[in-house]
């Protein structure tokens, strides 16, 4: 068994045909984590004991012949998603010792299928960042090149799957934080339609943009995880009461003959790296060979997507993070003489630099005198971008674009230049702004061997279209698919 190419689908077959037991499979991953994660640094906490217990329970279900798709499958969970009794830190000093009293609905759904939770993985602090360098605890490395970042903020999730330290992962995506690290690490990651997956238990960054999303080695693996975690949740008032006609995992076939695919011209800017551009056009040729019709179209409002995103997300973050005051949980500064001093110093000492930047930007955008010019204007841009996509989807089945303008950066390249880091989100933020489903999968490797990601974005609740397009492309790309050499 080549663990580096094992998928959830294949692991299911091996488990159900008794070629391997759930405990054996979990032990393989725990051993790999022990041996290899010192190079990758993807895990913040490993739950060996509980994972083996879960595997043991899963085996009983397998033996009874009633296993569900994720029964006995070892997964990692981004450390901003709560699991009762297990530290959930958001990679922040502010929550370094926080142990949630409840479990996120998405994780409960995995547990109800008897999935195995290997541990919690690294992220940019409070999901703010695109490199995982903003973690207060460790820097996760890209398995394809250990001197480079895995992307972010779900860098630990993407790296753990890429390095085969988990068969799949749950990340969170507010402005691209599942799709971008998936692209950098050569795996598949998707952001569902806003509201399809419950946010209960996802520690809030920007509540109108956040979504939990799966990361896996293949499109099918992501679809299997999505099938397990979607659904209306009474604990999340923004979750949708929607059930697809068939499972997402059974929606991948059918090909893309006569599929209409649009490519926004506004994404073909000077900042797009030439090798990424070449991979994009090669992918378009492939899609046309597979029967799709691809054409460029214009959506001028996309030019304003990055500033609109940063204004809205930072404003919401400044509100969401106001709960961290050292009173009931989280970091509390010592030797404070007054209540106000306690709050001010707890927040200044507990938060990292990028979090402070975003809180300041958000407070600025909401401040009296600036609210209309910044925050309200961003909300109007949201209307324009959403309507632009509505118009596009009257003509196209899916929209295509690169996931990132370049491949994985070297460590330190973006930490001193937050602006260039923000601008690199150009392709991913608009799906969050408009609440659309979007998936990234590998479409090539640059001259340094670094993965390049291709994205398909669909209409609201159009997961089946993007999964079908992605799976069809993936099948053609399969002979070129690479895994990192560790």
């Amino acid at each position: 068994m080549d663990i580096s190419r094992l998928t959830i689908k294949e692991a299911r077959r091996l488990l159900d045909s008794k070629k391997i037991s759930a405990v054996e499979l979990t032990n393989i991953y725990l051993k790999r984590i022990q041996e290899l994660d010192q190079k990758i640094d993807s895990y913040l906490s490993v739950c060996s004991e509980s994972a083996l217990q879960q595997a043991s329970e899963a085996q009983k279900i397998i033996d009874s012949g009633n296993s569900q798709p994720l029964c006995g499958i070892p997964l990692s969970i981004k450390d901003n998603i709560c699991i009762e009794g297990i530290k959930t830190t958001c990679a922040s000093k502010m929550l370094e010792d926080f142990v949630p009293p409840y479990t996120a609905t998405a994780v409960s759904k995995l547990e109800s299928q008897n999935a195995v939770i290997l541990g919690k993985v690294n992220l940019d602090e409070f999901a703010m960042g695109s490199t995982t360098e903003n973690s207060a605890f460790k820097k996760t490395k890209n398995p394809f090149d250990l001197s480079r970042v895995p992307g972010g903020s779900s860098g630990g999730s993407a790296a753990s799957v890429s390095a085969s330290l988990a068969l799949g992962s749950l990340g969170s995506d507010t402005g691209g934080s599942v799709r971008q690290p998936a692209a950098f690490c050569g795996v598949v990651g998707m952001k569902p339609t806003y509201g399809l997956v419950s946010r209960y238990g996802l520690i809030a960054f920007a509540s109108s943009l956040d979504q939990i999303g799966p990361i896996g080695k293949t499109v099918e693996d992501c679809a299997i995880i999505l099938d397990a975690i979607y659904g209306q949740d009474p604990k999340d008032g923004t979750s949708l009461n929607y059930k697809p006609e068939t499972s997402y995992a059974s929606s991948l076939s059918g090909g893309i003959k006569d599929f209409r695919i649009g490519l926004p011209k506004e994404y073909l800017t000077e900042g797009l790296n030439s090798e990424v551009r070449d991979a994009l056009y090669k992918s378009i040729n492939t899609l046309e060979k597979l029967g799709a019709k691809v054409e460029e179209f214009s959506m001028p409002s996309l030019k304003y997507a990055v500033p609109a995103y940063y204004l809205m997300s930072s404003a919401e973050a400044s509100s969401n993070l106001s709960r961290y005051d050292g009173v009931k949980y989280g970091y509390r500064a010592q030797n404070c003489k007054t209540f106000n001093e306690m709050i001010g110093r707890s927040r200044a000492e507990g938060f990292g630099r990028e979090v402070k930047r975003r809180i300041l930007l958000g407070t600025y955008a909401l401040a009296s005198g600036y609210y209309d010019a910044y925050y309200k204007k961003a909300l109007k841009l949201r209307t324009m971008i959403s309507k632009g996509f509505d118009q596009a989807f009257s003509k196209y089945d899916v929209v295509i674009h690169p996931t990132t303008p370049e491949t994985a950066f070297k460590f330190g390249q973006s930490t001193d230049d937050p602006l260039s880091m923000y601008l690199a989100d150009i392709y991913t933020v608009s799906a969050n702004i408009a609440g659309l489903p979007s998936i990234s999968l590998p479409c090539g490797y640059d001259s340094k061997g670094l993965p390049i990601g291709l994205s398909f974005t669909g209409r609201p609740l159009g997961e089946r279209d993007i999964l079908r397009a992605a799976a069809t492309f993936e099948a053609d790309f399969a002979p070129e698919f690479k895994v990192p050499e560790l």
Binding site: Y102, S208, T238, L240, S322, M342
Partner: protein, 95 residues
């Protein structure tokens, strides 16, 4: 609007971030560049456009008005080292 040090100090006060002078200066410099990027939205006319506060495709997602089970008090208190008598102790705020 330029993000002057004084204005960022005011914003930090609103956000309840007690930053020291060095950090304030450094963050104010970052904010100059970032606000410069945000200012690009001034180019576009949005006068006749309605704001979209939330992209959620549902409204008034109500539940039945039935009480649920409260959280276990012990669990809520367990994340603070300053819990006493079922309360959270804080520095004096009223003289």
């Amino acid at each position: 609007m330029a993000a002057t040090n004084d204005y960022i100090k005011y914003i930090a006060g609103l956000a309840k971030l007690s930053l020291d002078d060095d950090e304030m200066q450094s963050l104010a410099e970052d904010m100059q560049d970032i606000i410069g990027l945000m200012d690009t939205i001034k180019d576009i006319d949005t006068e006749s456009i309605d704001a979209t506060e939330h992209i959620s495709r549902i409204t008034n997602n109500m539940r039945e008005d039935n009480p649920g089970n409260p959280f276990d008090t012990e669990k809520i208190l367990s994340n603070s080292r300053y819990a006493m008598e079922n309360c959270f102790a804080i520095p004096k705020m009223i003289e």
